[in-house]
Amino acid sequence: MKKWKKFTSACLVAALSATLLAGCGGEKKEQAAANSNSYVIGASFELTGNVANYGKSTLSGLKLAVDQVNKAGGVNGKQLVVVESDNKSEPAESGNSVTKLITQDKVVAVVGPATSGCVFAATPVVTSNKVPLIAPCATAPAITVDNGQVKEFIFRACFIDPFQGRVMAEFADKTLGVKNVAILHDASSDYSKGLAEVFEKTLNEKGGKVVAKEAFLAKDIDFKAALTKIKAANPEAIYIPGYYEEVAKIVKQTRELGLNVPLIGCDGWDSPKLVEIAGPEALNNTYFSSAFSVQDKTESVQKFIADYKAMYQKDPDIFCMQGYNAGLVLADALKRAGDGADGTKLAAAIAATKDLPVASGKLTYDKDHNPIIAAIIIEMKDGVQSFKEKIAL
């Protein structure tokens, strides 16, 4: 027993030191490469912790973009190198990780983090160091604009929450032709609250009415109380902005209560788990807004899907695409800013991005550093996502 213990710990210690040494070696190599002929891009993502899924997906998309740019000869004759850094899904740690990327690895720009809270925490760091940051999928409006003032170095590569809310209200009004809609939102998430607010406002403008508004909390299991109240209000459709975990249970329980009206939602629904938990039957007659669908037959989307499959042997999700778009935006801006441009010039070049072909169509930045891209509506049919329509506002 004693011997075994000693042996095991010796092995573990050896493994530990080996990784540390290997790590040091790798760092030096990367830095050497940076000096000669490459651009170092920092990738600060949620690689561990409770939203590691998002971070990993986004990073895989970014890597695909960088890979393609490098294969096509790089930017200004230089290759792009990605340095990863984990922020443990925690805002304070995200400031730490971005500081490391900028000061230790001397990156020209940072891509990430995935979630809004982490981007907020990284903002003061990148701003004081004058290094641009592209947040691929952080949707909170305040990320790029603070009190009406645009943050010079912060960009995003996805549409913002209000946009999705407006798209869905448009869809409810035009395509579904419903006027009386109930809202069931997640009171513990700003994302959900923001969507609900904009949806309600847009719907009212279009002459519709919100007949009931109920709330739940993330990780709730039972939604019957709220749903019964909603049922009593007799809505023609229910808007459920939230994440798939709760939404799946809500959808299931809604159908159990015999409410067979259309359920509409947002891109937080987008996960294979939705079908697993709710079941394909219950999901019929549900729609959600998204930036991406594998069913979208547009050429650029299909090409992206094929490329992603070739590299990772699996289907990409929306985060992969947003990471990919962020990579393309950055490569394009680096090219236009020219060799040796500093952070301020690079930020200006990103802001000037116009009609750049990305996976989901053409991308142009508006004055608030938000990209203008089309949103799509996805319908669930027997547990399979099918492309319903594309809405551009």
Partner: protein, 319 residues
């Protein structure tokens, strides 16, 4: 009554030298911003670990809700500077007092429990605080309180850390501290000897919570943001791990644990897929070989290496 003993004076001088050295390196930019950030983080973690050690190590009450008090300090401090426009010094005091007061309120009923029950109650408390913050729109709710100015400097955090370390060291060596130790060793015996166990338990808990609050103020004023995700029970466990790794009841142990784990975590940020494995492997090896922690309940001192010198722990040198 000598408030400053000779040995203490020596230690403070040693701390001042250490401070001057690190500050010099910072000025000369030999230590870059990334390591500066981690040094500040280390100091904050030391405050947290040492204050938790007061509760868990010295008084023997198993509390795992430290992140809650950290959050209270972080948010109250941020409210004072951001919302009410008070200077940083006031924020520090108010953050400390608020966390301490909450610790007192919570300590009174919960410290009647012991062992597992206290652990569960404090764990619950930490979560309650976090969920409350999550639902208060005044402090930003789920998106966190933003726009906090960076007031925390290395000098602030270092001297506060030294203050906390000396405070707790002297507390431990005072008659109050002896009572706490007695409670840890055997609560019934301590009670029989006429020690008001509830009073001392609450005292230690309040002090520990208050210092966690101080650390919170420093934390939010360094990272620009106070966000509920920073104060989950995983953070409580992180602090607990530091204390247990160093050895429950050893102040130098807590300090070493804090330094070690913060370094490992900073160093491994680039290898996320390896970080948790290495981290846990270290824990397993340590617990197999030294279940009492690195130093057990002994203090690291020159004497430990057979060099004579102080009777108990030297602190800042282990940094």
């Amino acid at each position: 009554m000598n408030i400053l003993r000779k040995s203490d004076l020596k230690r403070i001088v040693a701390c001042a030298i250490l401070f001057a050295a690190v500050q010099g390196l910072l000025f000369a930019e030999i230590i870059g911003p990334f390591w500066e950030l981690n040094i500040v983080l280390i100091c904050i973690n030391i405050i947290l670990a040492v204050s938790l050690n007061l509760i868990n190590g010295y008084t023997g009450q198993f509390s795992i809700g430290h992140a809650g008090f950290l959050a209270v300090g972080a948010y109250t401090g941020a409210i004072m500077t951001v919302k009410l426009g008070f200077p940083f010094e006031v924020a520090l005091v108010v953050g400390t007092v608020a966390a301490g007061f909450l610790g007192f309120l919570i300590g009174l009923p919960t410290l009647r429990l012991n062992g597992d029950y206290l652990a569960i109650a404090t764990l619950g408390l930490g979560e309650i605080i976090r969920i409350c913050i999550l639902n208060i729109d005044y402090v930003g709710g789920a998106s966190g309180l933003m726009g906090i100015p960076r007031f925390t400097t290395f000098a602030w955090v270092f001297w506060i850390m030294i203050f906390v370390i000396f405070f707790i060291k002297n507390f431990k060596n005072s008659s109050y501290g002896r009572c706490c130790l007695a409670i840890r060793e055997n609560e019934i015996a301590a009670d029989t000897m006429g020690i008001d166990t509830t009073k001392y338990k609450v005292m230690a808990f309040t002090l520990g919570a208050a210092f966690a609050g101080t650390a919170g103020v420093l934390f939010s004023h360094y990272f620009y943001i106070a966000h509920p995700a920073s104060f989950t029970f995983m953070r409580s466990f992180d602090i607990l791990t530091m204390v247990v790794l160093g050895g429950l009841g050893s102040m130098t142990g807590s300090i070493t644990g804090a330094v070690l784990l913060t370094f490992i975590s900073a160093y491994l940020a680039e290898y996320p897929e390896w970080r948790m494995i290495i981290y846990s492997a270290t824990m397993i090896v340590l617990m197999l070989h030294r279940p009492q922690g690195l130093f057990g309940n002994k203090e690291l001192s020159m004497k430990m290496f057979g060099l004579g010198g102080g009777k108990d722990g030297r602190t800042a040198e282990s940094k």
